[in-house]
């Protein structure tokens, strides 16, 4: 019975299948919202699924001279790391075995795809891929740091690095969204930088470096890359919700689950709105914005929490 229970939990409900459906749903919501902001109708509900199935059925070419084995490995590693990250997150219903420091493990697993993205740029040796890879590395060092620092505000406030402890302290006090609203906004900016979404999507800027490091990928590998990015959005957003809003609902209740989904949809709307409003920033403006404004603000905010 326990084995079946574990199988059910890993593959069906809060595991692989559920995350995949959630990722496709959020990706469709994102494209539909941006289209609606721009006055367009936007794609039908099954569009992300159709894109993935078509990409899986396409021929898989790589430029001659690239290390086929390594190029195939990169999307797999990044996809696997994001999936294992999703198992650590207590998605409203099930409570995972939480240990001291799984906050850091989750943070590391979430940042793996950005590293793989950079390596993908170097493996395929295309001019656009190398430039896309370099830019994603620059962005990796600035916005992962911001995301870590801003999120660790909640860990400092709850005094422990375990996710469940963060949740328990929030239930006693108030959800961290109210006292740490600045921390929340900064970690949202860090998440946008990590996911390379619109205002900070210079590494895969369509108009300069075609598709950044993914220019040479096609077929199954490209499908895996797109799936990774969509999954990363879901896991990143639910990580954000867990750390800042988890006091709002009780675990293992149906109503808690729907509140969690509602928050996920709201945050996705915020992300889509931001990406529809702002133009793409240059790489030096990006780094300047991060190190001159966001990081000092986060440090001040964390010190303020420590002293309180």
């Amino acid at each position: 019975m326990n084995l079946f229970n574990i199988f059910l939990r890993i593959f069906i409900f809060p595991g692989f299948l559920f995350m995949l459906i959630l990722a496709l749903f959020l990706h469709w919501l994102d494209r539909k919202l941006i289209a609606r902001f721009q006055g367009r109708v936007g794609p039908p509900w099954y569009q992300p699924l159709a894109d993935l199935v078509k990409l899986f059925a396409k021929e898989d070419i790589l430029p001659s001279g690239t290390n086929q084995y390594f190029a195939a490995l990169l999307p797999l590693i990044s996809f696997a790391s994001v999936l294992t990250a999703s198992f650590y997150l207590p998605i409203a219903i099930q409570s995972t075995p939480s240990f001291q420091g799984d906050f850091i493990v989750l943070m590391f697993l979430l940042s793996m795809p950005s590293l793989m993205y950079f390596l993908a740029g170097w493996v395929t040796q295309g001019v656009y891929s190398i430039i896309g890879g370099n830019r994603s590395l620059l962005q990796y060092f600035s916005y992962e740091v911001l995301f870590l620092l801003a999120m660790s505000g909640t860990a400092i406030a709850s005094g422990s690095w375990a996710l469940t402890d963060i949740r328990l302290t929030q239930i006693k006090v108030t959800p961290y969204i109210f006292p740490q609203i600045i921390g929340f906004l900064l970690s949202l900016a860090g998440l946008i930088g990590k996911l390379k979404r619109e205002p900070f999507d210079i590494p895969k800027a369509k108009s300069e470096v075609i598709a950044g490091a993914l220019t040479e990928f096609s077929g199954k590998k490209l499908a895996l890359w797109y799936l990774t990015i969509q999954l990363q959005t879901v896991v990143g957003l639910s990580f954000l919700i867990h750390c800042f809003f988890s006091g709002l609902w009780q675990m293992n209740t149906i109503s808690g689950f729907f509140i969690f989904l509602l928050l996920l949809v709201i945050l996705q709307c915020v992300l889509s709105a931001i990406s529809a409003i702002y133009a793409r920033l240059r790489i030096d403006q990006l780094i300047h914005l991060n190190w001159h404004i966001f990081i000092p603000l986060t440090l001040l905010h964390n010190i303020y929490i420590l002293l309180k």
């Binding site: 494209r31 289209a35 721009q38 006055g39 367009r40 109708v41 936007g42 794609p43 039908p44 099954y46 569009q47 699924l49 159709a50 894109d51 199935v53 078509k54 059925a57 396409k58 021929e59 898989d60 070419i61 369509k206 108009s207 075609i210 598709a211 993914l214 220019t215 040479e216 990928f217 096609s218 077929g219 490209l222």
Partner: protein, 144 residues
Amino acid sequence: MNKTKTSKIIKWARQKSPWLLHFNTGGCNGCDIEILSLLTPRYDVERFGILKESSPRHADILICTGPVTQQVKPRLQRIYDQMPEPKWVLAVGSCSCSGGIFSGAHNILGGIDKVLPVDMYIAGCPCRPEAIIDGIVKLLEQIK
């Protein structure tokens, strides 16, 4: 799942998400702005799942406009080779179908079919966005 079931799903997926790659082989950019206006709110091809991609690796349909000039021919050939199977070619505008008004010039080789195997010809100078959408829809129906 047996063979016919999977191929039916793949056929459905290919019809529902055709990604375009646009290449102007020397035309007067009348058809190009009509292709670009497909993305805009009035025609909005994204509701059919059509996206305008920028890398040959990601694209299914190569949309060419304009007669093939001598200098653009090797590039057109290379882009076609870079695209993964299954791929289709759409000749948009009368000068890409047959060289149009510019046939006979010292630098023009004629229509796209002198260089690539073309699947669908869309006439018009410049052709209207509705004609391009109709051409794409007809092409998608032919996908086996």
